[in-house]
Symmetry: C2
Subunit: 199 residues, 2 copies
Amino acid sequence: MKTPPPIERLVAELRRLPGIGEKSATRLAFFLLAAPERAVRALADAILRVKLEIILCERCFDLTDASPCPICKDERRDAALLCVVEEPADRAAVERSGAWRGHYFVLGGALSPIDGIGPEDLRIAELEARVRGGAVREVALATNPNAEGDATAHYLAERLRDCGARLTRIAYGMPMGGDLEYADQVTIGRSLQNRSELS
Amino acid sequence: MKTPPPIERLVAELRRLPGIGEKSATRLAFFLLAAPERAVRALADAILRVKLEIILCERCFDLTDASPCPICKDERRDAALLCVVEEPADRAAVERSGAWRGHYFVLGGALSPIDGIGPEDLRIAELEARVRGGAVREVALATNPNAEGDATAHYLAERLRDCGARLTRIAYGMPMGGDLEYADQVTIGRSLQNRSELS
């Protein structure tokens, strides 16, 4: 016997979310069915508004509701220190660690020849312009500690070699193959503190 | 530095969902931010529509988009066999097992003195009316295999003792403390096949 189409449609939509399989999606759908209508409307509204209200910061390309974003506008932070991350979620994870008092730059991903992602698919030209524009003393490469993130860090180090800024790479405090987004704050903080010169 | 309010609001709403913690909610929020607007609208729409279009079946109290529901209207199913479950998600789980060709009755929960849930908070009067209305040959009590579900099954057996129908209880094929909603199909099927007379 088939599930009613509106429930089936919701389960199908929920299954598109990362980490949500058939059982989780079904469980979430039944939870929403049992929840008060006001709460369900609030969720749907929050989902829609986030798409309408969030834009990219013109300086760091992080997600924000006002550009430049609060971090880029914060005068207590050192604009000469630039932490390069792959994605907004990584920026948020680094920020939660409390170990970085500089600015950020969101690349938009990592180099991945297998997936057809080359330098022109990331914001590398924008990063280069920012760094070569002067006033950057250190570029801390905090791409993820996996094959793509490492390759991206080395590519950036090569490309920025003569820019005059220190080029550093976050230390491995995390297991290889990991993802910054899911690491705990202490590990992220330690790997930033132990960042080393990129040869 | 704070996350932009629209993202924070979405993370807060997602955290209300069962099994979604801080990290999962953040991950889902960033996924939605990166997803095409069309896909995000489809999800929000599915969430809203399910609340608008789903009602309770007047016979079995399962969730449906048309009452009586397709199972209650299905003439190939044996209306003399009634499987009593706590929640719609449990009904869906039993149905997926393919082991039940009768009808269902959704109680709306289980007895739980600690949570202040007594017989009058469940659809026990409605169940009794249905069973005593005749034409029911067996009541298979498929409340969850935990303390509350067991207590509910025994309470129902007591209350329906003289109704003339066979009263059975699903077999324990699952570990105690489990929940029908998350059990695999084979286990649910076996426990229905091995259902036993309730003394």
